[in-house]
């Protein structure tokens, strides 16, 4: 099975999807944002240059989570008043899609979830509020207004044309955490856990001057 290859609807250059389920990518030549619907590619805008980033993770970084190997295929970048953070899109060896977030080198793995429970709407989410998902109690610890700075690589869903967006951080007394992304309606829910850098056994990470 070879990765599906098509042409950029804007410039005609070949566009390859490394991951067969990818929905959004960028043309490496003309920087168009390309969204795939069935087998048709649609040009929905231009990508912005991403700010320089000190994350040790990069596209094609590999790692292991709960015994399952994954590879980084894409990245979302957000900026807020106290810095920026990355949501790295990771694809596991069996095809599952997840997210590795890196906020000032605090790492977490999460997965998009369609909860059975009701998700509080943007007007009904506030610090200290408790919400239950899948039997776990989460507390809304922080509400963050962030700017979507852009993406690179491949994403599992179309995600573009966003600016200010609200995030609700969900914490527990343990490693479990969640995020509510209010840029969509209904909001997107991500649930996962905090992880240590070492436990991910990352390979193909970036190098830093003076830190061999």
């Amino acid at each position: 099975m070879s990765s599906p290859t098509s042409n950029c609807p804007n410039c005609g250059a070949p566009v390859q999807f490394r991951w067969s389920s990818a929905v959004q990518t960028a043309c490496p030549f003309c920087k168009s944002i390309i969204v795939r619907t069935d087998l048709v590619l649609e040009n929905v805008g231009k990508i912005a240059d991403l700010p320089p980033d000190p994350s040790p993770i990069q596209l094609l970084t590999e790692g292991v989570y709960r015994g399952d190997k994954f590879q980084v295929t894409g990245r979302l970048v957000y900026e807020y008043e106290n810095g920026s953070w990355n949501e790295w899109h990771i694809v596991f060896s069996k095809g599952a899609s997840g997210w590795l977030s890196d906020a000032q080198l605090q790492f977490a793995i999460s997965f998009m979830v369609n909860p059975k429970e009701a998700v509080p709407s943007q007007d009904h989410v506030s610090r200290g509020k408790h919400v239950q998902f899948g039997g776990t109690d989460y507390e809304v610890s922080t509400l963050t207004v962030a700017m979507y700075k852009g993406f690179e690589g491949e994403l599992p869903f179309p995600y573009y044309g966003k600016s200010d967006m609200l995030f609700a951080d969900l914490r527990t007394s343990g490693k479990s955490f969640g995020t509510l992304d209010y840029s969509e309606n209904p909001p997107l829910l991500f649930l996962g856990e905090w992880v240590d850098y070492d436990e991910l056994q990352l390979k193909n990470v970036r190098q830093f001057e003076g830190w061999a």
Binding site: S2, S3, Q16, R18, P52, D53, P54, P56, Q58, L60, N82, G83, Q104, L105, Q106, A108, R127, E139, S141, T142, R171, T172, S173, G174, K175, F177, W194, Y197, D198, N204, V205, R206, Q207, F208, E209, G210, W211
Partner: protein
């Protein structure tokens, strides 16, 4: 199937210039910094702007020299950390300033840690993402984390009184947070509360000497003063009373065990009658019995006394050598009832412990005494009598010695428990919950 890896260029650290004094400003954190402070003129700069916008001017008089210089590296838990930031934070309490120092440690893969120092006491601190669960313990706050209960020690408003180097958050002098500490030595959980959020961290007490070794520092660390809030007690953990009662219980079990195991062998037993009316010599001698080997003995006198007393003179005589051991014992037993109910005093039987004697053939000379009182005084036939049984056991354990040994054994733990208690008292004297001094009057 995958395209060849194109390794992006190595991430470089940045060197900029201070817009205030023109001096070099090095960014060691590869772009994580939001704030950087010029080491020459102490100006606080916005690291997110290319021109390093000036946020705050700071007077030289506030300068504090960090004990570990910025740029120093050391290995903790197998990871290399570099000191990239330093800040002083102060709590003002009734006119006294209490200042501690925080060193921000950085590793480009593992992130950030902190070292804190107060009066020579150090902690290695990690930010916590999980939110500890609050609970109350004994009328004061506590939090639970990973099965440990951390007791609230103190809370106060802390103010940033000096900053140097770089920070991945926005910081300037005069920043205020409410800082609370919850302890389970050698660990401390700390929360910092602002209007917007509450952040938690976990500190582990680390001796200054270890810090000095880690960062290969010259000289010796400042000697720690007083007892720090999460300094581990050199006398161990836990309540002294629990230890005490456990030891007493253990001792009791040991004594009961030996007492049960060491009834000894009955070498002589016989029942006699005694009457004050008997004529002649009141003493009697027992048949000869043999004591084999070494071992203590117990002589038991069982009587039929009722509201009466008797005195027994004994001589344990070695038939082989003629040596005699003389001893005596009073047995008395009184009982009755009065307005408080029934009562009794003394007992019908009594035991005498006899230390080990050489093996050999022995016999006992027994001479009971009683007060003649029954009968008719006028007739002059006052009389009194009783039956008694003498039992001699050989090879018994005298429990007294176990008790004495046990009590001696208890002295060190009690002493150490008292020192531990005193250590904990001194620790908590610094807290928001100073222990009430005992013996301070009723």
């Amino acid at each position: 199937m995958s395209s060849p890896l194109v390794a992006p260029p190595v991430v470089k650290s940045k060197s900029l210039h201070c817009p205030n004094c023109g001096g070099p400003v090095q960014l060691r954190g590869f772009g994580h910094a939001l704030t950087v402070v010029c080491q020459q003129c102490l100006t606080v700069l916005d690291a997110t702007t290319p021109e390093l916008k000036i946020l705050q001017h700071v007077q030289e008089k506030y300068r504090v020299k960090p004990l570990i210089a910025l740029g120093q590296r050391g290995k903790i838990g197998g990871t290399t950390w570099e000191v990239i930031g330093f800040q002083a934070r102060t709590v003002y309490d009734e006119g006294t300033a209490y200042t501690w120092y925080e060193y921000l440690l950085f590793n480009p893969y593992k992130g950030f840690r902190y070292l804190t120092e107060y009066d020579g006491h150090w902690n290695f601190v990690t930010a916590l993402e999980p939110q500890p669960v609050r609970k109350a313990a004994g009328g004061r706050g506590a939090v639970v984390m990973d099965g440990h209960t951390f007791r609230h020690f103190s809370g106060a408003e802390a103010q940033t009184t000096f900053v140097l180097g770089e920070f991945p958050w926005r910081v300037k002098m005069g920043d205020k947070v409410v800082a609370d500490d919850f302890i389970d030595p050698p660990l401390v959980l700390s929360s910092e509360t602002t209007d917007d959020e509450i952040t938690w961290s976990r500190g582990e007490y680390t001796p200054g000497s270890e810090i000095w070794k880690t960062f290969s520092l010259q000289g010796s660390p400042p000697p720690p003063k007083g007892i720090y809030l999460n300094q581990p007690s050199p006398y161990g953990k836990g309540s002294m009373w629990r230890t005490f009662w456990l030891l007493v219980l253990a001792l009791l079990l040991v004594v009961m065990f030996f007492a049960a195991m060491n009834h000894g062998v009955v070498v002589f037993q016989k029942t006699y009658s005694f009457s004050t009316a008997d004529k002649g010599e009141p003493s009697l001698v027992t048949p000869i019995f043999e004591i084999k080997g070494h071992g203590a003995m117990e002589l038991n006198i069982g009587t039929s006394l009722a509201n009466d007393w008797a005195y027994f003179n004994f001589a344990l005589i070695n038939d082989d050598t003629g040596e005699a051991l003389d001893f005596g014992r009073e047995v008395s037993y009184y009982y009755g009832s009065d307005s408080d109910g029934s009562w009794s005093e003394g007992g019908r039987s009594s035991s005498i412990y006899i230390p080990a004697l050489p093996a050999g053939h022995y016999y006992l000379r027994i001479e009971p005494e009683m007060e003649a009182k029954d009968g008719n005084r006028l007739r002059g036939d006052w009389v009194n009598n009783m039956n008694y049984t003498i039992t001699l056991r050989h090879g018994v354990t005298n429990a007294t010695w176990y008790w004495i040994a046990g009590l001696l054994l208890l002295i060190p733990p009690i002493f150490s428990a008292m020192r531990r208690k005193s250590f904990e008292t001194r620790r908590w004297m610094q807290s928001d919950y100073p222990p009430v001094r005992s013996g301070g009057g009723d």
